[in-house]
């Protein structure tokens, strides 16, 4: 049976891990290879490296990182952050990364998704979406929902809210590290990303991120039911039960966490033991 995946996320800057596992026994906590090895041994199914290097000139460091990790760690890994062109993707994938993830660049140039998928296959293209809840009704017009000139249909006007307590949750896509609102509807954008060839959606709830109060299950479910590609839930994990919820109620195929694992509040083994107990298929 296909296993649900548990994915730690590491922040890297100038080729060094700046937010990763806090192990005294690590000789060099900034070394991405050491970090990756620890997580590999701990039972991570996959790794995500998020490059937060500010300058575009530092691209080579992330290629070197991919190469170094691929030489010693034999589980799949994704690199995201600052990727703007097909050439950026090529350099990272050739160096040994399995997937690249694009976020702001995909919103600015949606054709980047299709170009990447054509060149490297959909399985290599992850579209990361930062989502913020904007209340219980559609806060943007259908014109604002238009994605790159192509109008995305707003929910059918015949869909009348039958009852005042009936809530339609809605989320907006943010870019530039969550600083810039785009007016795009998250579910519509996820569907558009799939149509353009994305192989996976990495979905982060900005509301839940950092709270450790659980993934945004409504958001995760809304996207997971709208697309037919895997969805990685991200943002808000605090307990083992949160992982189980994201993978069942949320309908996610994978759950990602960063600080929770880095600061050893929970280990991957603890999470997986709980999931096994709940009858959720995981690789142990």
């Amino acid at each position: 049976m296909l296993a649900k995946r548990i994915i730690p996320c590491l922040d890297v800057k100038d080729g060094r891990v700046v937010k990763g596992i806090n192990f005294v026994e690590l000789r060099d906590a900034g070394d991405p290879v050491e970090q990756a090895k620890v997580y590999d041994q701990a039972g991570a199914d996959e790794l995500v490296f998020l490059d937060i290097t500010a300058t575009h000139e530092a691209r080579q460091t992330v290629i070197d990182l991919a190469r170094a990790v691929a030489e010693q760690v034999f589980i799949p890994f994704t690199i995201g952050g600052g990727i703007r062109t097909v050439d950026d993707m090529r350099g990272i994938l050739r160096a040994g990364a399995d997937k690249i993830s694009i976020n702001s660049a995909a919103v600015r140039q949606p054709e980047l998704i299709s170009q990447g998928a054509e060149a490297f296959g959909s399985q290599a293209i992850v579209v990361a979406i930062d989502a913020r809840r904007v209340g219980n009704k559609l806060a943007v017009s259908s014109e604002q929902l238009a994605v790159s000139g192509k109008r995305v249909d707003a929910p059918d006007s015949s869909f009348i809210i039958p009852h005042s307590q009936f809530i339609i949750p809605h989320w907006e896509v943010y870019v530039s590290g969550g600083r810039t609102a785009t007016g795009l509807d998250v579910v519509a954008w996820a569907v558009e990303a799939e149509r353009r060839g994305a192989g996976e959606i990495l979905l982060t709830s900005m509301d839940a991120d950092g709270t450790q109060e659980g993934y945004d299950l409504e958001l995760t479910r809304a996207v997971a039911t709208a697309v037919n590609i895997p969805v990685i839930a991200s943002g808000g994990a605090g307990t083992v039960a949160h992982f189980a919820q994201a993978l069942t109620v949320g309908g996610a195929d994978a759950a990602l966490a960063a600080s929770l694992f880095h600061y050893k509040q929970l280990t991957i083994a603890e999470v997986k033991a709980y999931l096994v107990n709940q009858g959720i298929p995981v690789r142990v």
């Binding site: 034999f74 799949p76 296959g121 037919n228």
Partner: protein, 211 residues
Amino acid sequence: MNKSAITMIDYGASNIRSAQKAFEYIGAEVVLTEDPEVVRKADRLVLPGVGAFGSGMAGLRQRHLPEAIHEAIQRGVPFLGICVGMQLLFDESDEMGLHQGLGLIHGRVTRFPLHNSSFLIPNLKIPHMGWNQLEPAWEHPLLAGVKRGDYTYFVHSYYCDPAAATAVLAWTDYGFPFAAIVAQDNIYGLQFHPEKSQSIGLRILQNFLQT
């Protein structure tokens, strides 16, 4: 450390770096080649693969590799195809048009059924991507140290459908059982990526070095 040497076929279509690094990690010397003469004389051959079946086959033909591969296999050289490299061993594939394969193992390569295409098959996502379990069909040195239910990492939208089920060394279930590993005489194929399947993947590669 195992000092076996393998010859890895570089036919343009694939990102073969990870597979090369995995073999090096377990102590093998890797010779990368696109030269049919080197392939003819190799002691142990690996055909890696990421990409489409048609372009893979075209890459092999351009370099006059199919004949060289056939000759090496007839000599009894252990041969391992990985992912698309496994699929290329078969007669044909319907990935983006009908393409002839190497025809070393009889059968065809076809796409996973689209969701909702059958009441019998649940709504599954394509590509089949992630960790899934092996169900060995019989005992074989390639599976030494591998248990029923062990996980390996898959990424594919097409699967191999061998004419003879006896060619299947291990099955994996994705709505229905498909061939995860094939073995026929000195020819082996892995649908998953051993180079991304952690210790189980490395173990299978090590077993291949000892076949």
